[in-house]
Protein backbone atom coordinates (compact mmCIF):
# COMPACT_ATOMS: atom_id res chain seq x y z
CA UNK A 1 0.00 0.00 0.00
CA UNK A 2 1.40 3.42 -0.85
CA UNK A 3 1.58 6.35 1.51
CA UNK A 4 -1.24 8.18 -0.26
CA UNK A 5 -3.49 5.13 -0.08
CA UNK A 6 -2.78 4.81 3.62
CA UNK A 7 -3.65 8.43 4.30
CA UNK A 8 -6.90 8.14 2.36
CA UNK A 9 -8.11 4.99 4.11
CA UNK A 10 -6.98 6.12 7.55
CA UNK A 11 -9.19 9.19 7.37
CA UNK A 12 -12.16 6.92 8.18
CA UNK A 13 -10.53 5.50 11.29
CA UNK A 14 -9.52 7.01 14.61
CA UNK A 15 -5.84 6.12 14.37
CA UNK A 16 -3.43 8.25 12.48
CA UNK A 17 -0.20 6.26 12.30
CA UNK A 18 2.59 4.81 14.39
CA UNK A 19 5.12 6.43 16.67
CA UNK A 20 8.18 5.27 18.59
CA UNK A 21 7.32 4.80 22.25
CA UNK A 22 10.88 5.83 23.19
CA UNK A 23 11.82 8.76 20.97
CA UNK A 24 8.48 9.74 19.40
CA UNK A 25 9.63 9.41 15.80
CA UNK A 26 6.55 9.03 13.53
CA UNK A 27 5.89 6.24 11.01
CA UNK A 28 3.11 5.35 8.60
CA UNK A 29 0.65 2.69 9.73
CA UNK A 30 2.24 -0.21 7.86
CA UNK A 31 3.64 -3.57 8.99
CA UNK A 32 6.55 -2.48 11.16
CA UNK A 33 7.30 -2.72 14.84
CA UNK A 34 10.60 -1.03 15.62
CA UNK A 35 11.92 2.50 15.30
CA UNK A 36 14.18 1.69 12.42
CA UNK A 37 15.10 5.28 11.60
CA UNK A 38 16.34 6.26 15.06
CA UNK A 39 16.49 4.15 18.21
CA UNK A 40 14.99 0.67 17.69
CA UNK A 41 12.38 1.32 20.36
CA UNK A 42 8.96 -0.31 20.01
CA UNK A 43 6.35 1.44 17.85
CA UNK A 44 2.86 2.16 19.10
CA UNK A 45 -0.35 3.31 17.48
CA UNK A 46 -1.27 7.00 17.53
CA UNK A 47 -4.95 7.95 17.86
CA UNK A 48 -6.96 11.07 17.35
CA UNK A 49 -8.56 11.23 20.79
CA UNK A 50 -10.70 14.24 19.86
CA UNK A 51 -12.25 12.14 17.11
CA UNK A 52 -12.80 9.26 19.53
CA UNK A 53 -14.35 11.56 22.13
CA UNK A 54 -16.75 12.96 19.55
CA UNK A 55 -17.92 9.52 18.43
CA UNK A 56 -18.06 7.50 21.64
CA UNK A 57 -20.21 7.55 24.76
CA UNK A 58 -21.18 4.99 27.38
CA UNK A 59 -24.46 4.58 25.46
CA UNK A 60 -22.82 3.92 22.08
CA UNK A 61 -20.51 1.34 23.64
CA UNK A 62 -23.36 -0.38 25.49
CA UNK A 63 -25.29 -0.58 22.20
CA UNK A 64 -22.35 -2.29 20.46
CA UNK A 65 -21.69 -5.98 19.91
CA UNK A 66 -20.92 -8.17 22.94
CA UNK A 67 -17.33 -8.54 21.85
CA UNK A 68 -14.16 -6.47 21.87
CA UNK A 69 -15.52 -4.66 18.82
CA UNK A 70 -17.86 -2.61 21.00
CA UNK A 71 -14.64 -0.63 21.59
CA UNK A 72 -13.59 -0.48 17.95
CA UNK A 73 -13.05 3.29 17.96
CA UNK A 74 -10.15 2.56 20.32
CA UNK A 75 -8.66 -0.15 18.12
CA UNK A 76 -6.30 0.28 15.14
CA UNK A 77 -8.45 -1.04 12.29
CA UNK A 78 -10.06 0.68 9.33
CA UNK A 79 -12.85 -1.52 7.97
CA UNK A 80 -14.97 -4.46 9.05
CA UNK A 81 -13.31 -6.40 11.85
CA UNK A 82 -12.94 -10.16 12.12
CA UNK A 83 -15.50 -10.70 14.90
CA UNK A 84 -15.54 -14.25 16.23
CA UNK A 85 -17.20 -13.24 19.49
CA UNK A 86 -13.92 -12.43 21.19
CA UNK A 87 -14.10 -10.61 24.49
CA UNK A 88 -16.75 -9.40 26.90
CA UNK A 89 -15.89 -12.34 29.13
CA UNK A 90 -17.38 -12.63 32.64
CA UNK A 91 -16.25 -10.42 35.49
CA UNK A 92 -17.03 -12.74 38.35
CA UNK A 93 -17.58 -11.42 41.87
CA UNK A 94 -15.41 -13.85 43.80
CA UNK A 95 -16.96 -13.70 47.28
CA UNK A 96 -15.83 -17.10 48.52
CA UNK A 97 -12.22 -16.56 47.44
CA UNK A 98 -12.36 -13.03 48.87
CA UNK A 99 -13.47 -14.36 52.27
CA UNK A 100 -10.78 -17.03 52.21
CA UNK A 101 -8.10 -14.44 51.48
CA UNK A 102 -9.52 -11.75 53.75
CA UNK A 103 -10.56 -9.28 51.05
CA UNK A 104 -13.86 -7.44 50.97
CA UNK A 105 -14.28 -6.97 47.23
CA UNK A 106 -12.56 -9.29 44.75
CA UNK A 107 -13.37 -9.89 41.09
CA UNK A 108 -12.06 -12.46 38.63
CA UNK A 109 -11.84 -11.34 35.01
CA UNK A 110 -12.22 -14.74 33.39
CA UNK A 111 -10.58 -14.85 29.97
CA UNK A 112 -10.26 -18.61 30.37
CA UNK A 113 -13.64 -18.65 28.62
CA UNK A 114 -12.72 -16.19 25.89
CA UNK A 115 -13.71 -17.09 22.33
CA UNK A 116 -12.70 -18.87 20.20
CA UNK A 117 -9.69 -20.46 21.96
CA UNK A 118 -10.13 -19.84 25.69
CA UNK A 119 -7.39 -17.33 26.39
CA UNK A 120 -6.88 -13.57 26.31
CA UNK A 121 -4.83 -14.04 23.14
CA UNK A 122 -8.05 -14.10 21.12
CA UNK A 123 -8.27 -10.35 21.79
CA UNK A 124 -4.86 -9.48 20.38
CA UNK A 125 -5.15 -11.89 17.46
CA UNK A 126 -8.60 -10.61 16.42
CA UNK A 127 -7.09 -7.14 16.11
CA UNK A 128 -3.82 -8.31 14.51
CA UNK A 129 -5.49 -10.44 11.83
CA UNK A 130 -8.03 -7.74 11.02
CA UNK A 131 -5.12 -5.38 10.46
CA UNK A 132 -3.10 -8.07 8.61
CA UNK A 133 -5.94 -8.45 6.12
CA UNK A 134 -6.15 -4.68 5.69
CA UNK A 135 -2.42 -4.52 5.00
CA UNK A 136 -2.78 -7.19 2.31
CA UNK A 137 -1.17 -10.18 4.03
CA UNK A 138 -2.39 -13.61 2.92
CA UNK A 139 -0.21 -15.63 5.31
CA UNK A 140 -0.08 -14.97 9.04
CA UNK A 141 2.26 -16.34 11.63
CA UNK A 142 3.43 -16.08 15.24
CA UNK A 143 5.98 -17.22 17.78
CA UNK A 144 4.04 -18.67 20.66
CA UNK A 145 4.18 -20.29 24.09
CA UNK A 146 0.93 -22.05 23.13
CA UNK A 147 -2.09 -19.84 23.64
CA UNK A 148 -1.14 -17.45 20.86
CA UNK A 149 -0.62 -20.40 18.49
CA UNK A 150 -4.14 -21.69 19.27
CA UNK A 151 -5.65 -18.31 18.68
CA UNK A 152 -3.75 -17.39 15.53
CA UNK A 153 -4.51 -20.77 13.92
CA UNK A 154 -8.21 -20.60 14.82
CA UNK A 155 -8.91 -17.04 13.78
CA UNK A 156 -6.81 -17.42 10.61
CA UNK A 157 -8.98 -20.44 9.74
CA UNK A 158 -12.14 -18.39 10.25
CA UNK A 159 -10.77 -15.54 8.14
CA UNK A 160 -9.44 -17.82 5.40
CA UNK A 161 -5.82 -16.77 5.89
CA UNK A 162 -2.87 -19.11 5.41
CA UNK A 163 -1.16 -19.79 8.72
CA UNK A 164 2.25 -21.01 9.88
CA UNK A 165 2.99 -20.91 13.61
CA UNK A 166 6.07 -21.62 15.70
CA UNK A 167 6.12 -23.08 19.22
CA UNK A 168 8.75 -24.53 21.56
CA UNK A 169 8.75 -28.34 21.10
CA UNK A 170 8.11 -29.08 24.82
CA UNK A 171 4.61 -27.55 25.04
CA UNK A 172 1.65 -29.17 26.76
CA UNK A 173 -0.23 -31.61 24.52
CA UNK A 174 -3.48 -29.67 24.78
CA UNK A 175 -1.85 -26.62 23.30
CA UNK A 176 -0.32 -28.60 20.45
CA UNK A 177 -3.62 -30.35 19.60
CA UNK A 178 -5.47 -27.09 20.05
CA UNK A 179 -3.36 -25.64 17.27
CA UNK A 180 -3.11 -28.61 14.90
CA UNK A 181 -6.86 -29.08 14.69
CA UNK A 182 -7.18 -25.86 12.67
CA UNK A 183 -4.70 -27.30 10.13
CA UNK A 184 -2.03 -24.62 10.07
CA UNK A 185 1.60 -25.44 9.34
CA UNK A 186 2.97 -25.97 12.85
CA UNK A 187 6.69 -25.75 13.55
CA UNK A 188 7.77 -27.22 16.92
CA UNK A 189 11.19 -25.70 17.51
CA UNK A 190 13.74 -27.52 19.65
CA UNK A 191 14.39 -24.62 21.98
CA UNK A 192 12.74 -22.26 24.46
CA UNK A 193 10.37 -19.42 23.59
CA UNK A 194 13.13 -16.86 23.33
CA UNK A 195 14.89 -19.02 20.77
CA UNK A 196 11.62 -19.47 18.86
CA UNK A 197 11.20 -15.71 18.86
CA UNK A 198 14.65 -15.14 17.51
CA UNK A 199 14.08 -17.65 14.71
CA UNK A 200 10.78 -15.98 13.84
CA UNK A 201 12.41 -12.57 13.63
CA UNK A 202 14.70 -14.04 11.02
CA UNK A 203 11.81 -15.71 9.17
CA UNK A 204 9.86 -12.45 9.28
CA UNK A 205 12.84 -10.79 7.65
CA UNK A 206 12.68 -13.04 4.63
CA UNK A 207 9.19 -14.48 4.09
CA UNK A 208 7.00 -11.40 3.95
CA UNK A 209 4.37 -12.84 6.29
CA UNK A 210 2.30 -11.00 8.85
CA UNK A 211 3.72 -12.08 12.22
CA UNK A 212 1.17 -11.01 14.81
CA UNK A 213 3.74 -10.43 17.52
CA UNK A 214 6.55 -9.14 15.32
CA UNK A 215 5.77 -6.87 12.36
CA UNK A 216 2.09 -6.53 13.42
CA UNK A 217 2.94 -6.04 17.08
CA UNK A 218 1.82 -2.39 17.38
CA UNK A 219 -1.71 -3.44 16.30
CA UNK A 220 -1.71 -6.82 18.03
CA UNK A 221 -0.80 -5.47 21.46
CA UNK A 222 -3.61 -2.90 21.35
CA UNK A 223 -6.12 -5.74 21.62
CA UNK A 224 -5.16 -6.21 25.26
CA UNK A 225 -6.52 -2.75 26.11
CA UNK A 226 -9.99 -4.25 25.91
CA UNK A 227 -9.26 -6.10 29.16
CA UNK A 228 -9.05 -2.66 30.75
CA UNK A 229 -12.18 -1.29 29.07
CA UNK A 230 -14.32 -4.30 29.95
CA UNK A 231 -13.44 -4.23 33.63
CA UNK A 232 -14.38 -0.55 33.81
CA UNK A 233 -17.69 -1.15 32.05
CA UNK A 234 -18.50 -4.31 34.02
CA UNK A 235 -17.76 -2.59 37.32
CA UNK A 236 -20.48 -0.09 36.39
CA UNK A 237 -18.23 2.46 34.68
CA UNK A 238 -15.73 2.79 37.47
CA UNK A 239 -12.12 1.83 38.02
CA UNK A 240 -10.99 -0.81 40.51
CA UNK A 241 -8.47 0.04 43.26
CA UNK A 242 -5.97 -2.69 42.51
CA UNK A 243 -5.36 -5.16 39.69
CA UNK A 244 -3.21 -8.28 39.62
CA UNK A 245 -2.17 -9.69 36.23
CA UNK A 246 0.38 -12.22 35.00
CA UNK A 247 3.58 -10.94 33.40
CA UNK A 248 5.17 -12.71 30.45
CA UNK A 249 6.48 -10.14 27.96
CA UNK A 250 4.85 -7.42 30.09
CA UNK A 251 2.68 -6.23 27.22
CA UNK A 252 -0.73 -7.19 28.69
CA UNK A 253 0.06 -5.32 31.91
CA UNK A 254 0.99 -2.11 30.10
CA UNK A 255 -2.05 -2.30 27.84
CA UNK A 256 -4.52 -2.73 30.71
CA UNK A 257 -3.03 0.51 32.06
CA UNK A 258 -3.37 2.14 28.65
CA UNK A 259 -7.00 1.00 28.47
CA UNK A 260 -7.74 2.64 31.82
CA UNK A 261 -5.89 5.82 30.80
CA UNK A 262 -7.77 6.12 27.52
CA UNK A 263 -11.19 5.82 29.14
CA UNK A 264 -10.15 8.52 31.61
CA UNK A 265 -8.83 10.68 28.77
CA UNK A 266 -12.04 10.61 26.74
CA UNK A 267 -14.24 11.08 29.80
CA UNK A 268 -15.83 7.62 30.01
CA UNK A 269 -14.69 7.02 33.59
CA UNK A 270 -13.74 9.18 36.53
CA UNK A 271 -10.04 9.19 37.29
CA UNK A 272 -8.70 7.66 40.48
CA UNK A 273 -5.53 5.83 41.46
CA UNK A 274 -5.32 2.14 40.51
CA UNK A 275 -2.47 0.02 41.82
CA UNK A 276 -0.94 -2.43 39.34
CA UNK A 277 0.65 -5.63 40.63
CA UNK A 278 2.26 -8.27 38.43
CA UNK A 279 2.71 -12.02 38.82
CA UNK A 280 5.55 -14.22 37.63
CA UNK A 281 6.67 -17.80 38.20
CA UNK A 282 9.93 -18.04 40.16
CA UNK A 283 11.35 -20.28 37.44
CA UNK A 284 11.04 -17.42 34.97
CA UNK A 285 10.94 -14.15 36.87
CA UNK A 286 13.23 -11.63 35.18
CA UNK A 287 10.76 -8.77 35.75
CA UNK A 288 10.14 -9.65 39.42
CA UNK A 289 13.88 -9.92 39.99
CA UNK A 290 14.55 -6.52 38.42
CA UNK A 291 11.69 -4.99 40.44
CA UNK A 292 13.03 -6.45 43.70
CA UNK A 293 16.52 -5.16 42.93
CA UNK A 294 15.24 -1.69 42.08
CA UNK A 295 16.54 -1.95 38.52
CA UNK A 296 14.81 -0.47 35.48
CA UNK A 297 16.46 -2.90 33.07
CA UNK A 298 15.91 -6.61 32.63
CA UNK A 299 18.55 -9.29 32.84
CA UNK A 300 17.27 -12.20 30.72
CA UNK A 301 16.88 -15.63 32.30
CA UNK A 302 16.48 -19.18 30.98
CA UNK A 303 12.98 -20.39 31.90
CA UNK A 304 12.38 -23.43 34.09
CA UNK A 305 8.76 -23.52 35.30
CA UNK A 306 5.49 -25.35 34.74
CA UNK A 307 3.97 -21.97 33.84
CA UNK A 308 5.02 -22.30 30.21
CA UNK A 309 2.53 -19.81 28.82
CA UNK A 310 4.31 -17.01 30.69
CA UNK A 311 7.85 -18.39 30.41
CA UNK A 312 9.50 -15.55 28.53
CA UNK A 313 13.07 -15.12 29.68
CA UNK A 314 13.68 -11.93 27.72
CA UNK A 315 10.52 -9.86 28.18
CA UNK A 316 10.35 -6.98 25.71
CA UNK A 317 7.99 -4.81 27.76
CA UNK A 318 9.54 -5.64 31.13
CA UNK A 319 10.93 -2.14 31.75
CA UNK A 320 7.51 -0.60 31.09
CA UNK A 321 5.82 -3.06 33.46
CA UNK A 322 8.28 -2.15 36.23
CA UNK A 323 7.63 1.53 35.61
CA UNK A 324 3.86 1.05 35.93
CA UNK A 325 4.14 -1.00 39.14
CA UNK A 326 6.41 1.66 40.64
CA UNK A 327 4.30 4.62 39.54
CA UNK A 328 1.03 3.14 40.79
CA UNK A 329 2.27 1.83 44.13
CA UNK A 330 1.90 -1.78 43.06
CA UNK A 331 4.39 -4.58 43.25
CA UNK A 332 5.74 -7.47 41.17
CA UNK A 333 6.15 -10.82 42.87
CA UNK A 334 7.05 -14.39 41.98
CA UNK A 335 5.75 -17.72 43.28
CA UNK A 336 7.01 -21.29 43.13
CA UNK A 337 5.56 -24.01 40.91
CA UNK A 338 4.00 -25.61 44.04
CA UNK A 339 2.30 -22.33 44.90
CA UNK A 340 1.06 -22.07 41.29
CA UNK A 341 -0.62 -25.48 41.52
CA UNK A 342 -2.14 -24.49 44.87
CA UNK A 343 -3.38 -21.31 43.18
CA UNK A 344 -5.07 -23.29 40.41
CA UNK A 345 -6.77 -25.54 42.97
CA UNK A 346 -7.78 -22.65 45.21
CA UNK A 347 -9.51 -20.79 42.38
CA UNK A 348 -11.24 -23.96 41.20
CA UNK A 349 -12.45 -24.95 44.69
CA UNK A 350 -13.52 -21.46 45.75
CA UNK A 351 -14.99 -20.09 42.53
CA UNK A 352 -15.54 -22.91 40.05
CA UNK A 353 -13.00 -21.45 37.63
CA UNK A 354 -10.41 -23.83 36.18
CA UNK A 355 -7.43 -21.84 35.00
CA UNK A 356 -4.10 -22.79 33.53
CA UNK A 357 -0.72 -22.24 35.13
CA UNK A 358 -0.62 -18.51 34.31
CA UNK A 359 -3.88 -18.05 36.23
CA UNK A 360 -2.50 -20.17 39.06
CA UNK A 361 0.45 -17.80 39.18
CA UNK A 362 -1.86 -14.80 39.40
CA UNK A 363 -3.94 -16.31 42.20
CA UNK A 364 -0.84 -17.42 44.12
CA UNK A 365 0.63 -13.91 43.87
CA UNK A 366 -2.73 -12.39 44.86
CA UNK A 367 -2.72 -14.57 47.99
CA UNK A 368 0.88 -13.71 48.76
CA UNK A 369 0.33 -9.98 48.40
CA UNK A 370 -2.70 -10.07 50.70
CA UNK A 371 -0.70 -12.02 53.28
CA UNK A 372 2.15 -9.51 53.02
CA UNK A 373 -0.23 -6.60 53.47
CA UNK A 374 0.49 -5.30 49.97
CA UNK A 375 -3.17 -5.46 49.02
CA UNK A 376 -5.42 -3.66 51.46
CA UNK A 377 -8.50 -5.73 52.44
CA UNK A 378 -10.76 -2.80 51.57
CA UNK A 379 -9.44 -2.38 48.01
CA UNK A 380 -11.69 -3.43 45.13
CA UNK A 381 -9.31 -5.85 43.48
CA UNK A 382 -9.48 -7.49 40.05
CA UNK A 383 -7.40 -10.58 39.27
CA UNK A 384 -6.94 -11.26 35.56
CA UNK A 385 -7.28 -14.93 34.63
CA UNK A 386 -5.90 -15.21 31.12
CA UNK A 387 -6.22 -18.87 30.14
CA UNK A 388 -8.13 -22.13 30.57
CA UNK A 389 -6.99 -25.05 32.72
CA UNK A 390 -8.11 -27.71 30.27
CA UNK A 391 -5.13 -26.77 28.11
CA UNK A 392 -2.53 -27.62 30.76
CA UNK A 393 -3.90 -30.66 32.53
CA UNK A 394 -0.40 -32.18 32.78
CA UNK A 395 0.53 -29.49 35.28
CA UNK A 396 -1.96 -30.66 37.89
CA UNK A 397 -2.63 -34.30 36.92
CA UNK A 398 -0.56 -35.70 39.77
CA UNK A 399 -1.80 -33.20 42.38
CA UNK A 400 -5.57 -33.51 42.42
CA UNK A 401 -6.15 -37.13 43.43
CA UNK A 402 -8.29 -39.59 41.50
CA UNK A 403 -11.90 -40.71 41.34
CA UNK A 404 -13.14 -43.54 43.58
CA UNK A 405 -13.59 -46.51 41.29
CA UNK A 406 -16.54 -48.50 42.57
CA UNK A 407 -18.79 -51.40 41.65
CA UNK A 408 -22.32 -50.57 40.46
CA UNK A 409 -23.64 -51.58 43.89
CA UNK A 410 -24.85 -49.56 46.88
CA UNK A 411 -22.49 -51.31 49.27
CA UNK A 412 -19.50 -50.37 47.19
CA UNK A 413 -20.66 -46.74 47.07
CA UNK A 414 -21.31 -46.71 50.85
CA UNK A 415 -17.78 -47.90 51.57
CA UNK A 416 -16.21 -45.36 49.21
CA UNK A 417 -18.38 -42.52 50.54
CA UNK A 418 -17.30 -43.33 54.10
CA UNK A 419 -13.69 -43.32 53.02
CA UNK A 420 -14.12 -39.96 51.27
CA UNK A 421 -15.69 -38.38 54.35
CA UNK A 422 -12.85 -39.62 56.56
CA UNK A 423 -10.20 -37.79 54.56
CA UNK A 424 -9.54 -34.18 55.48
CA UNK A 425 -9.42 -31.51 52.82
CA UNK A 426 -9.36 -33.31 49.49
CA UNK A 427 -12.49 -35.29 48.67
CA UNK A 428 -10.78 -37.22 45.88
CA UNK A 429 -9.32 -40.69 46.16
CA UNK A 430 -5.56 -40.80 46.64
CA UNK A 431 -3.82 -40.51 43.25
Amino acid sequence: MTGTDLTATLSRSTFTGLRCKECGHPYEAGARHVCEDVCFGPLEVVYDYDAIRSRVSRATIEAGPTSIWRYREFLPVEGDPIDVGTGFTPLLKADRLARRLGLSSLYIKNDGVNMPTLSFKDRVVSVALTRARELGFTTVSCASTGNLANSTAAIAAHAGLECCVFIPSDLELGKVLGTLVYNPTLMAVKGNYDQVNRLCSEVANTYGWGFVNINLRPYYSEGSKTLGYEVIEQLGWRLPDHIVAPLASGSLFTKIRKGFDEFIKVGLVEEKPVRFSGAQAEGCSPIAQAFAAGRDFITPVKPNTIAKSIAIGNPADGPYAIDIANRTGGTIAAVTDEEIIDGIKLLAEMEGVFTETAGGTTIAVLKKLVEQGKIDPSETTVAYITGNGLKTTEAIASCIGAPYTIEPQLASFNAAWEQSQASHGSKAAPA
Binding site: E22, R32, H33, V34, E36, V38, C39, F40, G41, P42, K121, A143, S144, T145, N147, L148, G191, Y193, D194, Q195, N197, R198, C200, S201, E202, A204, N205, T206, N213, I214, R217, Y220, S221, A248, S249, S251, L252, F297, T299, P300, K302, S309, I310, I312, N314, P315, A316, D317, P319
Partner: protein, 91 residues
Protein backbone atom coordinates in the same frame (compact mmCIF):
# COMPACT_ATOMS: atom_id res chain seq x y z
CA UNK B 1 38.54 -13.96 11.68
CA UNK B 2 35.45 -14.08 9.52
CA UNK B 3 32.20 -13.48 11.36
CA UNK B 4 28.83 -13.91 9.68
CA UNK B 5 26.34 -11.25 10.78
CA UNK B 6 22.58 -11.60 10.23
CA UNK B 7 21.07 -8.17 9.60
CA UNK B 8 17.40 -7.53 10.47
CA UNK B 9 15.17 -6.00 7.80
CA UNK B 10 15.11 -2.51 9.37
CA UNK B 11 18.92 -2.30 9.06
CA UNK B 12 19.25 -3.71 5.57
CA UNK B 13 18.97 -0.23 4.08
CA UNK B 14 22.54 0.20 5.36
CA UNK B 15 23.79 -3.09 3.89
CA UNK B 16 22.46 -2.67 0.35
CA UNK B 17 19.60 -5.04 1.24
CA UNK B 18 22.00 -7.81 2.25
CA UNK B 19 20.46 -9.98 5.02
CA UNK B 20 23.81 -11.49 5.90
CA UNK B 21 27.28 -9.96 5.76
CA UNK B 22 30.76 -11.27 6.54
CA UNK B 23 33.17 -9.17 8.62
CA UNK B 24 36.47 -9.47 10.49
CA UNK B 25 36.18 -8.92 14.27
CA UNK B 26 37.50 -10.37 17.53
CA UNK B 27 34.67 -9.20 19.82
CA UNK B 28 31.18 -7.71 19.72
CA UNK B 29 32.62 -4.24 20.31
CA UNK B 30 35.06 -4.87 17.47
CA UNK B 31 32.23 -6.05 15.29
CA UNK B 32 30.29 -2.83 15.89
CA UNK B 33 33.32 -0.82 14.80
CA UNK B 34 33.78 -3.03 11.72
CA UNK B 35 30.11 -2.62 10.80
CA UNK B 36 30.38 1.15 11.09
CA UNK B 37 33.55 1.09 8.96
CA UNK B 38 31.79 -0.68 6.14
CA UNK B 39 28.29 0.79 6.57
CA UNK B 40 28.62 4.32 7.92
CA UNK B 41 25.72 5.35 10.16
CA UNK B 42 24.74 1.86 11.27
CA UNK B 43 26.42 2.11 14.68
CA UNK B 44 24.26 5.05 15.70
CA UNK B 45 21.21 2.86 15.15
CA UNK B 46 22.61 0.00 17.17
CA UNK B 47 24.14 1.95 20.04
CA UNK B 48 23.28 4.98 22.15
CA UNK B 49 25.56 8.01 22.40
CA UNK B 50 27.73 6.19 24.98
CA UNK B 51 28.39 3.29 22.64
CA UNK B 52 26.11 0.97 24.61
CA UNK B 53 23.84 -1.33 22.62
CA UNK B 54 20.25 -0.09 22.70
CA UNK B 55 18.13 -1.91 25.24
CA UNK B 56 15.52 -3.02 22.72
CA UNK B 57 18.08 -4.86 20.63
CA UNK B 58 19.17 -8.43 21.24
CA UNK B 59 22.46 -9.80 19.93
CA UNK B 60 23.17 -13.50 19.76
CA UNK B 61 26.43 -15.33 19.14
CA UNK B 62 25.63 -18.77 17.72
CA UNK B 63 22.12 -18.52 19.21
CA UNK B 64 23.30 -17.45 22.70
CA UNK B 65 22.17 -14.03 23.96
CA UNK B 66 25.31 -11.97 24.64
CA UNK B 67 23.81 -11.01 28.00
CA UNK B 68 24.46 -14.61 29.04
CA UNK B 69 28.03 -14.24 27.73
CA UNK B 70 30.19 -11.17 28.21
CA UNK B 71 27.87 -8.54 26.71
CA UNK B 72 29.74 -6.27 24.31
CA UNK B 73 33.10 -7.67 25.46
CA UNK B 74 32.09 -11.15 24.25
CA UNK B 75 34.95 -12.61 22.22
CA UNK B 76 34.30 -14.00 18.75
CA UNK B 77 35.95 -16.89 16.93
CA UNK B 78 36.39 -17.59 13.26
CA UNK B 79 33.12 -18.85 11.79
CA UNK B 80 30.86 -17.48 14.54
CA UNK B 81 27.42 -16.30 13.54
CA UNK B 82 26.08 -13.14 15.15
CA UNK B 83 22.41 -12.26 14.81
CA UNK B 84 20.91 -8.88 15.54
CA UNK B 85 17.26 -9.15 16.57
CA UNK B 86 14.95 -6.36 17.72
CA UNK B 87 12.91 -7.32 20.81
CA UNK B 88 9.42 -8.70 20.15
CA UNK B 89 6.36 -9.16 22.32
CA UNK B 90 5.03 -12.56 23.07
CA UNK B 91 3.18 -15.28 24.47
Amino acid sequence: MAIQVLIPTPLQKFTNDEASVSLEAASIDGLLVALEGRYPGIQARLCDENGKLRRFLNLYVNSEDIRFLDNQATLLSDGDEVSIVPAVAGG
